[in-house]
């Protein structure tokens, strides 16, 4: 925690939008140049403030998606249909526009790249964003910490970062990615759609999985993310409770509640589980 206990009160900074990338039909990543930004710790968030010409202003919190970098930060924003700020950020904002930010914020829900222990990341929907920052930070730091991501999404079209996650997983450096589809599954998917359950959690984290693909037998280029797409040489084992991974759970309140209960029932220590719930105020 000490690293994140930055001294100095939060103040607003003026940033400029550098780039906007569409991630899914409803989500976009926004790269922002911030001259006074000194970097962040994976898992932290920022506040974004929009001010209208008449002085009306609205403020929302968004997780940082990128690995730490001085002078630059990247957010991924999911548009909420009845939101006030997210439709502007995902549909109106253009490169070159100014954007007011403050941060980095939060010293609890963070992963320190210097820690080498196993990590289990559990994402519901756009709850993947701060966890993606952890995955990117791990790669940027050259960390070998075993990482497993369980990513629950409605369907393949809703999955953020699918191509990048697939590429990172194929590097076979200790990152494993497993998908749980709740409404629509890709063609040929061996499981019906369903929520994360005790059985699915046990299956994905049992820790003694044989490789799904023989060494040298790379899986085909992924048209859609697989729940269990293995890198060449076999996938890393899942993170069962007995390995005592640090656990980060992020998503809507209901998802986090359910996932945290499943994890505790599976034997994870409550003290090893950090949660970040987001609600309608994210709009």
């Amino acid at each position: 925690m000490a690293r994140a206990a930055v001294l100095g009160r939060l103040t607003w900074q003026d940033g400029t939008v550098r780039e906007i990338r569409r991630e899914t039909a409803a989500a976009a990543s926004i790269v922002i140049d911030l001259p006074d930004w000194s970097g962040h710790t994976a898992g932290q968030h920022v506040d974004v403030r929009l001010t209208a010409d008449d002085g009306y202003s609205a403020q929302r919190s968004y997780s940082i998606a990128s690995a730490p970098e001085p002078g630059r930060v990247e957010l991924t924003v999911q548009r909420l249909p009845d939101g006030e700020v997210s439709p502007y950020l995902t549909e109106t904002l253009q490169p070159g526009y100014p954007l007011e930010l403050r941060g980095p914020i939060g010293g609890w829900f963070v992963w320190d790249p210097a820690s080498s222990g196993p990590v289990l990341l559990v994402a519901g929907g756009s709850g993947i964003v701060p966890l993606m920052s952890m995955i990117r930070s791990r790669a940027a730091a050259g960390s070998q910490a075993p990482f497993q991501l369980l990513y629950s999404v409605r369907g393949p079209a809703d999955a953020l970062y699918a191509t990048e996650l697939s590429q990172r997983q194929r590097q076979a450096d200790g990152l494993r990615v497993d998908y749980v589809y709740t409404r629509t599954v890709p063609a040929g998917w061996p499981h019906p759609p369903g929520r994360l359950s005790a059985a699915v959690l046990a299956e994905l984290t049992r820790g003694d999985d044989p490789p799904l693909f023989s060494p040298g037998g790379l899986p085909p280029e992924p048209p859609a993310p697989d729940r269990r797409s293995a890198p060449s040489g076999g996938e890393p084992p899942g993170h069962r409770a007995g390995q005592a991974p640090a656990v980060f759970v992020c998503g809507p309140t209901g998802f986090v509640e359910a996932a945290a209960n499943l994890l505790i029932t599976a034997g994870h220590q409550a003290g090893a589980i950090k949660t970040e719930r987001f609600g309608p105020s994210g709009g």
């Binding site: 925690m1 930055v6 968030h45 914020i105 939060g106 010293g107 609890w108």
Partner: protein, 88 residues
């Protein structure tokens, strides 16, 4: 009482007031004595301000209201805070 968030969400508003991150501090509930990080409290953001409750007993730990050029902070539900600080 389902619609709550984690104490993490207070890091911004409290960061306007304090120079250290209060959400990663360990706090003791004045009502039941449970110890947890402020980030682990249950926060109800839809009141006029933010209300943080003890995840163990539900008692109010903290209330924070921000309006105009003022902030009102009620911490009576926390009997002690243990903060991470730079070494003296």
């Amino acid at each position: 009482m389902q619609n709550y968030l984690d104490g993490n969400v207070l890091a911004g508003p409290l960061g306007e007031v304090f120079a250290v991150d209060v959400t990663s501090a360990m706090g003791q509930c004045a009502s039941c004595g449970a110890q947890a990080a402020v980030a682990q409290a249950h926060v109800y953001p839809d009141a006029p301000g933010a209300v943080a409750r003890c995840r163990a007993c539900g008692a109010v730990l903290l209330r924070l209201v921000r309006a105009g050029d003022r902030a009102w902070l009620d911490l009576r539900g926390i009997s002690c805070l243990e903060l991470q600080m730079p070494s003296e």
